[in-house]
């Protein structure tokens, strides 16, 4: 197990390095001079452009810039935004909170509903409910996330007019205290619903498949033959074993949480990471883009290792298998 973990860690480090290199090359080779963008659009003088280029080290060869960047990274410095001059780490931290609020709520709902539906359907495979939910998940898989968001917006904000269109709070009223929380919650409903609907099929399928597999195990028959009530078998034994893959799925999902919600955030004007990435792209704010991308790949890499450990803890058979 330890050896296996070591191997996984090496993969993770390679992955992060790969991301760093790809990221850096792509951004430096791209057309569009960041120095020019920084001085502004109103007829910059040549000296100003030169000054900015020097200040940010944009005149040095690419590999020097890369080594400098790596050196700064080791010291925990992600650089600062070309646009606002604030440290990237701080900017990411600010936006991450909003994204986490949105996506974690949606994830919670999707996991609960998906698992519940999956387990209920697994008890009666091929039944009416099973076929019905199964076809719904198929259709949901075909939905582009931004389109589903727009459709919910159309129905609930435009036609019915019961929920706000977009944003995070009502900026006309200056709510405070509990009313403010309620306001934010109201604005959260549509984006959270969009994300929850999109994630639902995943958890439905995983828990359904796991439940079907568990119910087919021999020890289930043994318990049944021994005379244990079906409900008790289901609650106490089948459920616990069938929930395992869902736990892993949730942790994989956590790693990709930022990328998954980007488009939905943009549709609903939610001030999180997704919207921020779009902003940074149009501003050619390289340090921010690299910082976000790096953070994403590190979080994915770390999550993958966590998943392996978690899996081995939850299911001891696996650590045996990897040892041999």
């Amino acid at each position: 197990m330890r050896r296996y973990l070591g191997k996984r860690t090496i993969t993770a480090i390679i992955s992060v390095l790969l991301v760093l290199v790809i990221n850096f090359t792509i951004i430096r080779l791209a057309p569009g001079d960041p120095a020019r963008l920084l001085v502004g659009t109103e007829a910059p003088s040549a000296e100003q452009v030169e000054l900015i280029t020097k200040k940010y080290g944009l005149d040095k060869p690419v590999y020097v810039q890369f080594l400098k960047y790596l050196g700064n990274l080791v010291r925990g410095d992600l650089g600062s935004s070309y646009y606002t001059n604030e440290p990237v780490a701080k900017l990411i931290g600010e936006k991450l909170g909003y994204t986490a609020l949105l996506t974690l709520t949606a994830l919670l709902i999707a996991v609960l509903l998906g698992t519940w539906a999956g387990i209920s359907c697994a008890r009666h495979i091929g039944g009416g409910l099973d076929n019905f939910v199964g076809s719904i998940t198929y259709v949901i898989d075909g939905f582009p996330s931004f389109w589903l968001g727009l459709m919910l917006m159309l129905v609930f904000a435009s036609v019915l007019g019961i929920l706000p269109y977009s944003g995070i709070m009502n900026i006309r009223e200056n709510y405070t205290g509990f009313r403010r929380v309620l306001d934010i919650a109201e604005h959260m409903v549509l984006p959270v619903a969009t994300l929850a609907i999109l994630h639902f099929p995943y958890y439905f399928r995983i828990s359904r498949a796991a439940m079907i597999q568990t119910l087919g195990e021999e020890y289930m028959t043994t318990l049944w033959v021994a005379g244990m009530p079906k409900r008790r078998i289901f609650r106490k034994y089948a459920f616990r074993n069938a929930i395992l893959p869902t736990v892993t799925a949730v942790s994989i999902h956590m790693a990709y949480i930022v990328t998954g919600s980007a488009l939905v955030e943009i549709v609903f004007g939610w001030p999180g990471m997704g919207s921020y990435v779009m902003q940074s792209i149009s501003r050619r704010d390289y340090p921010v883009l690299m910082g976000i991308y790096l953070m994403l790949s590190v979080s994915v890499a770390v999550m993958m290792i966590v998943i392996d450990v978690l899996y081995a803890v939850l299911d001891p058979r696996i650590s045996h298998a990897t040892r041999n």
Partner: protein, 320 residues
């Protein structure tokens, strides 16, 4: 499934040819058992019916694909207007002149949707084929070679798999410009990891099969074994995965277009929705129909991919 039934049918036909005009007892036996030709025909029809019933997903998907291809091929004939022609009828609701209404610049939504099918299919196929080729080559190399090569290539596959690809695509397209060719290549070059994993596993299991051992024994080169034996025998799961890859590619292209990063010179569904977003309150038809077209196409390829997987592994039929 059909192949075996076809074989039986063929055998029956041949037997009929062989035996007719031979000894009378044998002819009589044939007469007792009915006309073999008609029987074979019935069996074939039955087999086809059974195949369709058992593989309803695959067949539905293929049927829907036919519809899509037909639409893409005849878009120039059936669309009532030029998809890029502007008119004074801006944000006109669906009616006699414009069956699905017009967008904010007076373009006919139906024409855009019909013509957009070409771009979606083109992007989907090209990107998926690129990723299939890259994935197959890397996967087969890692899986068949084994040892250090596998450690190196396998590690590369794993590392690439961990990278968040949509952000990568987003950044590349935003910085390098958004020609449709670039979009296809970038999507293709970032989506191969699944194919590589599948092909690697296939190669690892095929490596130990007798026919591969035999090829090795008679001294065939590694390259020949990989291309003539391993890939043809292990490609089916990659094809199923590629059908799913078409969905991902179409989704990614429409997402890019929706973010305003699509090729401005082509007619695409994502751009239709991007342009229609501003009219969501007073022109619902722009977004709704554009999205329905995407949903239809994506489901088509999901059905095909799932269908092939079930065909390859009938056990899945109970689980999926």
């Amino acid at each position: 499934m059909t192949r075996s039934n076809d074989k039986i049918a063929k055998l029956n036909e041949n037997r009929h040819l062989k035996l007719s005009g031979k000894s009378p007892e044998k002819r009589e036996r044939f007469l007792r058992h009915g006309r073999p030709h008609a029987h074979a025909h019935g069996a074939r029809r039955k087999a086809v019916k059974l195949f369709i019933r058992r593989n309803s997903r695959l067949c539905t998907g293929l049927g829907m694909l036919m519809v899509l291809l037909f639409i893409a091929a005849t878009a120039g004939v059936f669309s009532p207007y030029d998809p890029q022609a502007l008119s004074h009828d801006m944000v006109a609701p669906p009616g006699a002149a414009h069956p699905l209404g017009t967008d904010g610049l007076g373009r006919d939504v139906l024409s855009i949707i019909l013509h957009g099918s070409r771009i979606s299919l083109l992007v989907g196929f090209t990107a998926a084929v690129i990723s299939a080729i890259v994935g197959t080559l890397l996967g087969v190399t890692a899986g068949y070679w084994g040892g250090r090569v596998d450690a190196l290539v396998g590690e590369f596959i794993n590392a690439f798999m961990m990278m968040p690809t949509f952000f990568l695509i987003l950044i590349v397209i935003a910085l390098f410009g958004s020609g449709i060719g670039k979009v296809m290549i970038v999507i293709g070059l970032t989506g191969w990891t699944g194919n590589a994993k599948v092909m690697r596993a296939q190669a690892m299991s095929l490596r130990n099969r007798t026919f591969v051992k035999a090829a090795q024994a008679i001294g065939e080169s590694r390259g020949r074994i990989m291309f003539a034996h391993i890939i043809p025998n292990g490609i089916m799961p990659v094809i199923a995965n590629t059908a799913m890859g078409v969905c991902t590619a179409i989704m990614t292209e429409s997402s890019l277009s929706f973010l305003g990063l699509g090729d401005p010179n082509v007619v695409s569904w994502g751009q239709l929705i991007y342009n229609g977003k501003a009219y969501i309150t007073n022109g619902w038809w722009i977004c709704v129909y554009g999205g329905l077209a995407i949903v239809f196409t994506v489901i088509t390829f999901y059905l095909i991919g799932d269908g092939i997987n079930i065909l390859l592994n009938p056990k899945l039929r109970n689980v999926m």
